[in-house]
């Protein structure tokens, strides 16, 4: 695959400025929203003392999980020796960094005291899984950058495999810890489950592959660069497997929940009586996020690029729905402090928490995506991240070498 040439993506011409300008406006709106929320305090958001994490966290966690999945894609070539994916790795590393940055920006700007970011970076409680996450995020940036560097600097190509392996390990640990942010919460019936960690890893595969495919397709369409059908097909098939695996995991999660008496309440809430959460679960997560994309990818239409793109879009919508159900729905279900009692209080005890997101939270969340897109577009314009062309024959050649090597 030595023929694959990476070049700065300059073909976008004037539209580059237009797109970046629009993204900048979205980012600015997000920042203004964050400023507005900070200035007034969080009472202007939909979040409250019952639902403490809201839409910003839905977006942030989705982006962080996605980023990790993308980095996974980046390491496929190095770790599993899948040479055909090699031309995709640097872009995957870039996209991963960008999505991580977008997600973290949301998280930081939603803090009660974002001005104390320096505190978060200097005070560590190592017993906290959150602290681990902070350290892992920082390492993620470093490792992903070093990985991209080893791929782009000829003299360092030899280290790509080692670094790629490190990157792979790191991101597995990272997503395990991200899942554990919820998994370790003994307080709430919806969480407190070890399966959260592996489920998040599978979700990251699914989200990461989908969002990466969308990014790749968007960039190649925009710049007029040809990306091999063979490769897209392989990625598409991979995505299908991941969607299926994710489905398996949340089946396992909900089924065990329904079995354990302690958790039947919350399962009944999420799956049947939870109004918006129930809807989001069945329509968003199951139908749009799982069944439709599977049908699209494996159906007869699956060979069309547009259909693959749509399937990815549905995975994105399904993923956001799922995060909403998990994060907000999990909090909305009341704590069981007094089993066997009907509970009332002035502090919403015993009631389903109400959460109506405001436009500010939505804008902040969306601006996370905008930041990621802005970064990807900016960096791929000034550094050679995107393959100039990637024709089928390049991939075929690789597959052939792979076949001869393995036989």
């Amino acid at each position: 695959m030595k023929n694959v040439r990476f070049t700065e993506m300059r073909e976008t011409g004037q539209s580059y400025w237009l797109v970046q300008g629009l993204l900048a406006v979205v980012i600015l709106l997000g920042l203004s929203s964050a400023y507005y929320m900070e200035l007034n305090g969080h009472w202007v958001t939909g979040m409250n003392n019952q639902i403490v994490w809201g839409l910003p966290h839905v977006f942030a966690v989705f982006l962080i999980v996605t980023a990790s999945g993308e980095l996974n894609l980046a390491s496929i070539a190095s770790v599993f020796g899948k040479a055909p994916y090699k031309p995709l790795t640097r872009l995957a590393a870039l996209v991963a960094i960008a999505h991580m940055a977008g997600g973290l920006m949301i998280l930081v700007l939603d803090l009660g005291r974002p001005d104390r970011l320096i505190v978060a970076l200097t005070h560590y409680n190592l017993k906290s899984i959150f602290t681990w996450n902070i350290l892992l995020y920082n390492g993620f940036f470093v490792l992903a950058t070093v990985y991209a560097w080893t791929m782009m600097e000829r003299r360092l190509n030899g280290y790509a495999k080692v670094v790629g392996f490190g990157v792979f390990l790191w991101r597995v640990i990272l997503t395990t810890c991200t899942g554990s942010i919820f998994g370790f919460l003994v307080a709430r019936d919806a969480y407190n489950a070890a399966i959260m960690a592996p489920m998040f890893i599978i979700l990251s595969f699914s989200y990461g592959t989908a969002i990466y495919l969308m990014t790749l397709e968007t960039l190649s369409y925009w710049s007029g660069r040809r990306i091999s059908d063979v490769l897209v097909t392989r990625l598409k098939n991979l995505l299908g497997i991941f969607i299926g695996a994710a489905f398996y995991f949340f089946l396992a999660y909900h089924l065990t929940g329904m079995y354990v008496a302690e958790r039947q309440g919350v399962e009944y809430f999420l799956l049947a009586s939870g109004n918006v959460y129930t809807w989001l679960f069945w329509v968003g997560q199951v139908l749009i996020g799982t069944i439709v994309p599977l049908a699209l990818l494996y159906g007869s239409l699956g060979r069309s690029r547009v259909v693959v793109y749509l399937a990815c879009l549905f995975v994105l919508i399904g993923g956001l729905s799922q995060m909403y159900v998990t994060i907000v729905g999990g909090q909305a279900y009341p704590l069981t402090i007094f089993p066997g009692y009907e509970v009332t209080s002035s502090f919403s005890d015993g009631q389903v928490g109400s959460y109506i997101p405001t436009i500010f939270e939505a804008l902040l969340g969306i601006s996370g995506f905008a930041v990621a897109a802005f970064l990807v577009i900016l960096v791929s314009r000034v550094l050679p991240f995107v393959p100039a062309t990637l024709v089928d024959s390049d991939v075929d050649e690789c597959l052939a070498t792979e076949a001869t090597q393995s036989s």
């Binding site: 003392n49 009660g112 978060a120 919460l185 005890d349």
Partner: protein, 245 residues
Amino acid sequence: MSNESTDQGRRGFLGTATATAVGLAAIPGLSLVALARSPDLAVDNRSRWGLLIDTSKCLTECTACTTACASENGLVSHGRPATDAQWLRKVQLKDKATGRTLSLPVGCQHCEKPPCVDVCPTGASFRRADGIVLVDKHICIGCRYCMMACPYKARSFVHEETHNQKANAPRGKGTVEACTLCVPRLDAGRLPACVEACQQEGHQAMIFGDLQDPNSAIAKRLAAVPTHQLREALNLNTGVRYQGV
């Protein structure tokens, strides 16, 4: 241990003071007068403060403890129940099986193994040597993970700018807070505001004291009658106990 005598003296005092206070509930401020722990000494783990709530004495309509808490700590309501801070709240219970109703105050349970402290990324949530779980607002970044983790929904996030705070209860926008057991009062040898208020009402539903001192009123009561921790199964060994739930 040069200051052993002082410490023991203090513990002895508080135990006595509490007992006396319980006995002489109608006389306000009795426990306030005498010497506290010397202000330049660090707290240690030889005492662990606890609170026992006797639900049989807690009246449904009485809000003396929560009102006292709010006024002692300057918790003003902005008329937005979902975001207003409540360190201590009155919870009304109705047994689904028997229909028995009861009422009790719930706030921070001051766990021995507090989940909020485990999850706090910066170490802002911490447990003082004498068992009080606190938020160091100087390093709280307002991530609210502790609120996710607390099994008792005991914590509040300050959702708006604060003004006219009480000198003894600093609180500010963007940080998380909860019952401090009125730690400044405690350090000065006074009872938490809620306990004092309950006494003043003559209800005697709250007993405060050192769980580790077998002679304290609370320890004696715990030894004498069955009491519960909320969500006992979590094994958090709370500092707040309930009688009659």
